[in-house]
């Protein structure tokens, strides 16, 4: 794809006018890139078939900076929604794609983002079937916002619901925590610090499918702890199920550099955002098999059991600290703010 568009080096209001400029931008950047039978109809919407129950999820992506270590807003917009659909126990098939672009975004950046969307969609096995592009005046947006909505076929063996969780169930995560949040943080204005931490943004739909193929309804719940981190998701699960959750601090998979960066910035990795992490709550009888299957997959190499469901302290997550004490892990309130000293 050309990184300029009819000589334009940046997006301007005309590209969102709905007229010829919009058409040219869509032709050069969208239709050619994502060509498939649904999109090629160039209709107002798409008509498609899905077998059986459908899982739908929508998400808007507003990350800043739009390019970060390990990825950009484009692939995030695919992975985020693909993963949300997968967490419903479904196999993502189709995705919609809407841009809100602030005028002045360079055509090169737009092109890079569109290319990343294309490869992320291909790698996740989803087709972009319809979309929208709007341009807002400078100052009315923040470079680019993306909304995606994903559709998936619910896996025939899946029975994913918080109500399936039983006391004794094991809580497993697939890999290192807090990578995405700390990668973003390391590049935020005023907070820049040198590190090699990269975002963990990736699609989780295939590893989830493998789990469902192998274990079916013994997989009780799937969640991806993005904003608010692991602590917020587990607090939600505890509250919704009125069951207790026990965590062990020493079991949490946190990469050394991330742990150190959190320490320096005074942030708790349990509350930092993830993009390639999921929590799976499973029947205790299959813990070892689940871990073995996950660890064979590159996206589950560091899979670890971090805790279990209990009848004690219903509605609360309690973590055993490294020195043997206990504390409540509460949901994140507002944004996590760095401490003074």
């Amino acid at each position: 794809m050309d990184s300029t568009n009819k000589g334009y080096t940046s997006i301007n209001l005309g590209h969102g006018s709905g007229g010829l400029m919009t058409r040219e931008l869509l032709d050069s950047h969208i239709f050619k890139t994502f060509s498939n039978p649904y999109l090629d109809q160039k209709h107002d919407g798409a008509i498609f078939n899905i077998e059986g129950p459908i899982a739908v999820s929508t998400d808007s992506f507003v990350v800043s900076p739009i390019f970060f270590k390990g990825g950009n807003i484009g692939e995030l917009a695919i992975h985020g929604t693909v993963n949300d659909v997968a967490m419903c126990g479904a196999i993502p098939k189709f995705i919609t794609l809407s841009f809100i672009v602030e005028e002045g975004l360079s055509m090169t950046d737009f092109t890079t983002i569109v290319n990343s969307i294309k490869s992320a969609a291909d790698n996740s096995g989803v087709q972009v079937i319809t979309g929208d592009t709007k341009v807002v005046e400078r100052g009315k947006g923040d470079k680019i916002f993306i909304n995606t909505t994903g559709f998936g076929e619910v896996h025939p063996k899946a029975d994913i619901a918080a109500s399936n969780i039983r006391s004794g169930d094991k809580i497993i995560v697939n890999g290192y925590l807090a990578q995405h949040g700390m990668a973003i943080m390391s590049q935020r204005e005023g907070l820049e610090f040198e590190s090699t931490i990269v975002s963990d943004t990736t699609n989780l739909n295939f590893i989830v499918k493998d789990l469902l193929d192998a274990f079916g309804s013994k997989i009780h719940l799937l969640r991806d702890p993005t904003r608010g981190g692991l602590a917020s998701i587990l607090s939600e699960i505890a509250e919704d199920t009125e069951k207790g959750i026990q965590l062990k601090e020493t079991s949490l998979p946190i990469e050394k550099q991330v742990a150190a960066a959190c320490e320096i910035l005074g942030l708790d990795p349990l509350y930092v955002a993830n993009e390639g992490v999921f929590v799976v709550v499973v029947d205790k009888a299959i813990e070892a098999e689940v871990l073995a299957l996950m660890r064979k997959d590159s996206k589950g190499k560091y899979a670890t059991c971090v805790g279990e469901v209990t009848t004690e302290h219903p509605g609360k997550v309690v973590m055993q600290s490294a020195i043997g004490g206990k504390r409540i892990v509460s949901p994140l309130i507002g944004e996590q703010l760095p401490r003074i000293c």
Binding site: G190, K256, I323, G325, K326, R327, I328, P338
Partner: protein, 364 residues
């Protein structure tokens, strides 16, 4: 993490907990001064591992908690005057009389959350047509960097930089607590990082005058249990000395370079403490020679005052007279999402620490 994991060791911590249990023969109340210590005690679940004779009382050493309401109102007023206000993170959510800094940002204020005042100097340099104010909050620990920012502004001839000063000092606060007729503190864990700057000399007269042990202590679990053990040992042996548990960081004379920078820019003056009122000679004010960098003078906001919420018992919490869960508002009306007073806002605040981490909530 080298130099951190060693101080989070289960076996070593257990060892000190055993020593504490073996040494203690009667109830003692020990106050940890610093909010960072409170945070670590609750976060690591140390409180419930201590024998019941040892009660920890959470002191006033949380800068966010003791910054008076009117200072927050002043910072909000500056945002409303189109000044770029720079602040440490946990200050921005503290409610002022009408709004917090974060709320002022939401309606258009230019608020920047920074880790260092030197970043604010950079912002002032890059925005010569805007006024930039750093909200200089904190104890002796943050004073050197804040003072340094003023010296840098002066050196660079930046006339668009000023600081809104709310610096408080630990020893006068300790004296204020000890003078309170309801005071029931038997020993102090001294604030390790404050002493890293100031040294130990200010604490000898306090220990002597009030016959109270002061053990300068660090922040990791092992530091805390060792500091508590040293305090209990002194109490049981009838000693009242200044001891240094945190010797790997705190030197007898502190950090002379940092102290020199503080003394160049600041002088000791009276300061209002949220919940405690005005304590004489308890904080830093800018010296006359640096008044051009005093945001209160520069923007004419010295006279602003603000009444505290009458339902908040922050003063009694900060003095250790009451525990957060003894407040009728705690966890009901007053929560981190809707704080009545500052100790519920800051992650170092005793109320927020109790709310987030304490097992006292598990049974309730």
């Amino acid at each position: 993490m080298k130099y951190l994991n060693e101080y989070r060791n289960l076996e070593a911590t257990k060892g000190y907990l055993k020593l504490i249990a073996q040494t203690v023969t009667r109830p003692w109340q020990i106050m940890e001064i610093c909010g960072g210590q409170t945070h670590s005690l609750v976060r690591n679940g140390i409180l419930e591992l201590l024998p019941e004779e040892v009660q920890m009382i959470h002191g006033p050493g949380c800068p966010v908690c003791v910054t008076p309401l009117q200072l927050i109102d002043k910072a909000v007023a500056l945002l409303e005057q189109n000044v770029i206000v720079c602040s440490f993170g946990d200050m921005v959510r503290v409610p002022g009389s009408s709004k917090s800094l974060l709320e002022a940002k939401a309606i258009g204020g230019d608020l920047r959350i920074l880790y260092s005042p030197m970043e604010a100097i950079k912002i002032a340099r890059e925005n010569p047509d805007k006024e930039v104010v750093f909200f200089a909050v904190g104890f002796e620990t943050t004073a050197p960097a804040n003072a340094l920012s003023v010296l840098h502004a002066q050196k660079e001839g930046l006339t668009n930089y000023a600081i809104l000063v709310s610096h408080v000092l630990v020893p006068p606060a300790m004296e204020g607590i000890l003078e309170d007729k309801f005071c029931n503190i038997n020993a102090f864990l001294g604030a390790g990082h404050v002493c890293a700057i100031m040294g130990m000399h200010e604490y000898y007269p306090l220990a002597e005058k009030y016959k109270i042990p002061i053990v300068i202590t660090g922040f990791e679990p092992l530091d805390l249990v060792e500091g508590i053990y040293m305090s209990v040992k002194q109490l049981e042996e009838g000693r009242y000395e200044v001891e240094n548990q945190y010797a790997r960081v705190v030197k007898e004379a502190g950090n002379p370079e940092a102290k020199k920078i503080i003394d160049t820019v600041f002088e000791v003056g009276d300061r209002a403490w949220r919940g405690l009122g005005v304590i004489p000679k308890s904080g830093y004010v800018l010296k006359k020679a640096y008044q051009a960098y005093d945001a209160e003078v520069k923007f004419g906001i010295q006279a602003m005052t603000a009444p505290e919420n009458p339902d908040c018992i922050a003063g009694q919490i900060l003095k250790g007279i009451k525990k957060p869960n003894q407040c009728s508002q705690f966890g009901k009306i007053c929560t981190p999402a809707n704080p009545l007073g500052a100790p519920m806002v800051s992650s170092e605040g005793a109320c927020a620490a109790y709310y987030h981490y304490s097992n006292n909530l598990i049974s309730s």
